[in-house]
C-alpha cells in the first residue's frame, strides 16, 4: 500500500473526511526518510513537524539529572509521531526525539496543518480526536507509573502491546517502564503471562 493510502486508512478509521477535505489534507504531506539514531528534534527546539510513520521505530526521551534517559514514548507504524505537546503548543520541547531504526515517514508542518484546521472544521475535529486519544494514553500511563509495581507495569505493557517485545530493544523498554534493565530481564524470565 502506498504511504498516502496508509494515512488515508488510518485517518478514516478515526474521522472520515469529505473528498475535497481529503484532497487538501493529503496534499500537505511530504515523504521523509532517515537513518537510525538520527535526532529529529532536540530539547529546547520547538517541534515543527507532525510525522506519520510508514516504517521504523522511534522514541522520545528525557535526560534526567542523574544522566539517565527516561523513554517517554515509542512510535511505529501506523501512527503519528514527533513531540506532540511541543508541536501542538508550539513551545520548546523538553524531550529529544530520535529514530532507533531506519525510518520512513510522511510529514507535514505546523503551519500547513493549522491553515487547514482554520478552514475545515472536520480537520480540526480530526486533530482534536487524535489529541484526545493521545491524552487518554498519557493519563493511563501516568496511573501505571505512579501506582504500579515493576511487575504490574511489566504485565500491563505486555497485555496492551505484546508485540513490542519483538520490535523494541529491551533496554529501551526498561527505560520506558522506569525499571532497571536487570529487573526487566528477570521479569521476562519469571512472569507467566
Amino acid at each position: 500500500m502506498e504511504p498516502i493510502d496508509q494515512l488515508h486508512q488510518f485517518i478514516f478509521a478515526i474521522q472520515p473526511l469529505k473528498d475535497e477535505e481529503w484532497q487538501l489534507f493529503s496534499a500537505i504531506w511530504q515523504p521523509f526518510e532517515c537513518k537510525r539514531k538520527t535526532i529529529l528534534t532536540a530539547a529546547g527546539e520547538t517541534e515543527k513537524h507532525l510525522y506519520f510513520v510508514i516504517e521504523g521505530l522511534q522514541r522520545a526521551f528525557y535526560v534526567g539529572d542523574d544522566q539517565k534517559e527516561a523513554t517517554i514514548v515509542f512510535t511505529y507504524p501506523p501512527s503519528f509521531s514527533g513531540v506532540a505537546d511541543s508541536f501542538l503548543t508550539q513551545t520548546p520541547s523538553k524531550c529529544f526525539f530520535e529514530t532507533l531504526t531506519t525510518s520512513r515517514f510522511l510529514r507535514t508542518s505546523h503551519r500547513q496543518l493549522e491553515e487547514l484546521m482554520n478552514k475545515y472544521p472536520a480537520v480540526q475535529h480530526l486533530v482534536l480526536r487524535l489529541t484526545a486519544f493521545a491524552l487518554k494514553g498519557v493519563l493511563e500511563r501516568q496511573i501505571e507509573i505512579q501506582c504500579f509495581s515493576a511487575e504490574e507495569k511489566f504485565r500491563a505493557l505486555l497485555k496492551r502491546s505484546p508485540h513490542v517485545l519483538q520490535i523494541i530493544p529491551h533496554k529501551y523498554l526498561a527505560s520506558y517502564l522506569g525499571i532497571d534493565p536487570a529487573t526487566f530481564s528477570k521479569l521476562l524470565g519469571t512472569v507467566r503471562l
Partner: protein
C-alpha cells in the same frame, strides 16, 4: 566535485547539531568542578573548550545570518567549493572518532581560564538553537550563491553551505576533545564518579 541535495545536507547538519545538544545536555549534568578542571597543565578545561566554541559562534552566527538575508531563493543542488571542502576536511574528526591533525586555536580564540560554567553552557545551548533555526531558514535559500568571510581573514570567503559544514565540523572536533579531556581527568584525579562515556566517540556522520 561531489554535490549534495541542499535540503539533505541541511537536514543532516541539523541532526549533527542536535547530537551535540544531547552531548552537552549530558555534560550539563556532570559535576561542575569536573568541567572546570584542566586535564593537564596548559590544557583546556571543558568550560574553556565550550567557551572557545561560543567565541566561534559569536562571530559566525551573525555572519551567517547576514549572508542569508541577501541570499537568492532555494536551489535543489549544492556543490561545495574547494576551500570549503578543505576547511571541513581538516576540521572533521575521522570516522574512528580520532582527531588526526592537531592544531592550535588562533590567539583571538583562546578562552580565559576561571570561567563560570553556567553562563557558558547557557550560551552554548542558545547558539545551537539559533543555528538550528538558521539551517531551517537556509532551506528556502540558495546556499551556494552567497558567501561568508571566515573569522581569520575577511578576504577568505566560503559559500554559506560550506560555512555551515565547517562550523559543525569544528564543534564535533572539540566535542571529541571534551570526551578525551573528561577521560583523562577522571583517570588522573580519581575524584569523579566513573560514568559511561557521555559523548559518542564515533559519531554517525550523516554528511562528510
Amino acid at each position: 566535485m561531489k554535490s549534495y541535495k541542499s535540503n539533505d545536507l541541511l537536514e543532516g547538519l541539523q541532526a549533527d547539531i542536535r547530537q551535540l545538544v544531547l552531548d552537552a545536555t549530558y555534560l550539563q549534568k556532570e559535576d561542575p568542578e569536573l568541567l572546570l578542571t584542566a586535564p593537564a597543565p596548559g590544557k583546556w578545561s571543558v568550560a574553556q573548550i565550550l567557551e572557545h566554541l561560543n567565541g566561534y559562534g559569536r562571530y559566525y552566527i551573525p555572519a551567517i545570518e547576514k549572508s542569508l538575508q541577501s541570499a537568492k531563493p532555494h536551489k535543489e543542488k549544492f556543490t561545495p567549493g574547494w576551500l570549503g571542502n578543505y576547511f571541513t576536511k581538516i576540521m572533521k574528526p575521522g570516522a574512528d572518532g580520532k582527531i588526526a591533525n592537531k592544531m592550535n586555536a588562533p590567539k583571538n580564540h583562546q578562552p580565559a581560564a576561571g570561567l563560570d560554567i553556567k553562563p557558558v553552557m547557557d550560551i552554548f545551548f542558545e547558539q545551537q538553537q539559533r543555528l538550528l533555526d538558521l539551517l531551517e531558514k537556509a532551506k528556502q535559500k540558495d546556499i551556494g550563491a552567497i558567501k561568508t568571510p571566515v573569522s581569520i581573514s575577511r578576504f577568505i570567503k566560503l559559500k554559506v553551505g560550506d560555512t555551515f559544514r565547517f562550523f559543525v565540523a569544528h564543534e564535533q572536533r572539540h566535542f571529541l576533545q571534551i570526551a578525551n579531556a573528561i577521560d583523562e581527568i577522571k583517570k588522573t584525579t580519581g575524584k569523579f564518579r566513573s560514568t559511561p562515556p557521555v559523548i559518542q566517540r564515533s559519531p554517525v556522520f550523516l554528511y562528510d
